[in-house]
């Protein structure tokens, strides 16, 4: 079976992102970029399925500017077999990304598509579900375990009240949650090998997609600051403050 994994280039999760002084956008000059952590989990899951003999080929796709080829190479170093870069300027919205991914799905005909549940920049949590709608496939979102059995897949999902297991017909879409696996680090030899793996560059026009704008970001601003707090000496003082100053306990 063939697995398609989507990866996104995002600001590294350790970076504390700030709004530009003029509020036009966030400051992204000279910040460290990385593969979105949930996408890394997606790659790892595909690699484990390949190691288990369930998956034969892993195709990794990224959509964005040329620089996102770095993240494709990272995924190749982690064990993906070949890459597809859909070159797009700017920040396409989730719906547009899903349309481009549908183009890739139509061409590649994967049995399984794995994406991260959300990217840690826009925090939208949309693309996998949208791709599932556009391809009319089943979706197993926020997955913490997947089990493939013939042309069916059981997905255990992290839901608000606990866990839910559903059965999906393949081909299907999975979006990863944090507990699905713990991604490995790429070894140096694998990083070297990844440089020689095939990477195709395509454009939205190749899929007949014209990128549209549905939502415009008008401005960005820092969140309201919390007033500075105090350190209390001991538990007795803490309880006193909570009772008599903050009045949140009685």
């Amino acid at each position: 079976m063939k697995a398609l994994v989507a990866v996104k280039r995002v600001v590294d999760y350790n970076v504390k992102v700030r709004a530009k002084a003029d509020g036009s956008d966030v400051e992204l000059n000279n910040v460290k970029m990385a593969i979105n952590p949930f996408c890394e989990i997606a790659v790892e899951e595909a690699v484990r399925l390949k190691e288990a003999g369930t998956v034969e080929e892993i195709v990794v796709v990224s959509i964005g500017e040329k620089a996102c080829q770095e993240q494709i190479r990272t995924a190749l170093a982690l064990g993906a077999d070949r890459g597809i870069h859909v070159e797009v300027d700017g920040k396409p919205e989730p719906l547009e990304v899903a349309k481009l991914l549908k183009g890739v799905v139509d061409k590649e005909q994967p049995n399984l598509v794995i994406l991260g549940k959300q990217s840690i920049d826009g925090d939208n949590n949309q693309t996998g579900q949208m791709l599932a709608a556009l391809t009319n496939m089943a979706q197993g979102t926020f997955a913490s375990e997947i089990k493939i059995d013939g042309d069916k897949m059981n997905v255990t999902r992290e839901i608000d009240g606990g866990m839910q297991t559903i059965s999906l017909s393949l081909p299907a879409i999975v979006t990863t949650d944090l507990r699905l696996n713990e991604p490995r680090y790429a070894s140096l030899p694998n990083i070297m090998k990844a440089k020689k793996k095939p990477l195709d560059v395509v454009t939205p026009a190749d899929f007949g997609v014209e990128i549209q704008t549905h939502v415009t970001q008008l401005s960005v601003a820092p969140p309201p600051e919390r007033a500075a707090g105090i350190k209390v000496e001991d538990v007795a003082q803490l309880v006193d403050k909570l009772k008599n100053e903050a009045k949140v306990i009685s």
Binding site: Y13, R18, A19, V26, P94, L95, Q118, I120, D121, G122, D123, N124, N125, Q126, Q129, M130, A132, A133, N136, A138, Q139, T141, F142, E158, I159, D160, G161, G162, Q164, T165, S167, L168, A172, D177, L178, T213, H214, V215, T216, Q217, L218, S219, V220, A221, P222, P223, R226, A227, G229, K231, V232, D234, V235, A236, L238, V239, L242, A246, V248, I249
Partner: protein
């Protein structure tokens, strides 16, 4: 202008997140109708009819909707959406699962996790783990929106008498089926609705030590939460996770114990009214958002705290 709000429920009870989503819908203006979709959910629809801000309750009660599978429910919502300007749901795991699928079926964007309605087409929402608030404007004729429940005060849920209409449309996409569910039963309030939350982090060392939090939670009527590190380490179940990629909470009192205060954790709790941090490292970033910080070993402080409540 009219808005369809998707009710959050478990076929037995209407969940409070619905009331927060309705509050956001009120800000959009115009009339509001509610969809209760499920299996054996008639009583939920009857309860919902008492919400004064709802003019009509649509009840889609079919076996194919019992487990609210996204493949089936999204087809129904997309069909009903034809006669509404806005479709709104709370940003719960249910809303997050179903609504983007609806949006794509309608060929419109979804605006995720809004924290304010500036006008009928302009909203604010946190991005980058809440380090930045973006103001966004939608140009879609039909808007699909999920709502951060902590940002909107619940509407009243009694006093109204909306008409309940049965929805006939029965969509079964035939792509997915329900296997099983493990839902924790607890006498404690729900994490996202509790007025007091006490959370433990990696500093708790193991699951057994969460008993130290339970005693305090019992006395304060609090829900128990956790950091990702505590969940990953298996101390507590995944649904305890508070943060950017877990649950968003904003109780009157949030007590963080043995939690360092990574931005991903802060994203889920920094809108709490009063924040208390107990940590033995005086430089832990959690103290930067804490109203009251106690530098102490939690294994000493927690028993003392329980005793003094």
């Amino acid at each position: 202008m009219n808005t369809l709000v998707i009710a959050e429920h478990d076929n037995a009870e209407l969940k409070p997140a619905t009331l927060n989503a309705l509050a956001a819908a009120e800000k959009l203006g115009g009339s509001i109708e509610l969809l209760v979709v499920g299996g054996g959910c008639g009583a939920v629809a009857e309860t919902a009819a008492a919400i004064p801000s709802v003019s009509k309750v649509h009840c889609a009660d079919k076996p194919s909707y019992e487990h609210q599978l996204a493949e089936n429910v999204s087809l129904l919502i997309a069909e009903l959406a034809a006669s509404f300007d806005n479709v709104v749901a709370p940003a719960t795991t249910f809303g997050k699962n179903v609504m983007p699928r609806v949006a794509a079926l309608l060929d419109v964007a979804q605006i995720s996790d809004i924290i304010s309605v500036e006008s009928a087409d302009t909203f604010t929402r946190p991005i980058y783990a809440g380090n930045v608030i973006a103001t966004v404007q939608s140009s879609d004729a039909k808007k699909v929106i999920t709502v951060r429940t902590t940002a909107f005060d619940a509407v009243a849920d009694t006093g109204g008498s909306a008409e309940v209409v049965a929805v006939d449309a029965d969509h079964d996409a035939g792509l997915s089926s329900f296997v099983s569910e493990e839902v924790a039963e607890s006498d404690r309030p729900e994490l996202t609705a509790a007025s007091v939350v006490i959370s433990g982090g990696r500093g708790m060392q193991n699951g057994e030590n969460f008993a130290l939090l339970e005693g305090i939670a019992d006395k304060l009527g609090a829900a128990i939460g956790a950091s990702r590190a505590a969940v990953d380490a298996g101390f507590v179940p995944n649904d305890y996770q508070v943060g950017q990629t877990g649950k968003i909470v904003a109780p009157d009192l949030y007590i963080a114990v043995g939690i360092s205060g990574a931005i991903q954790h802060l994203a889920g709790m920094k809108d709490s009214k009063v924040i208390v941090a107990i940590n033995k490292d005086e430089d832990a970033p959690i103290f930067q958002v804490a109203d009251y910080g106690l530098v102490a070993d939690l294994f000493q402080a927690l028993p003392e705290l329980e005793a003094s409540l």
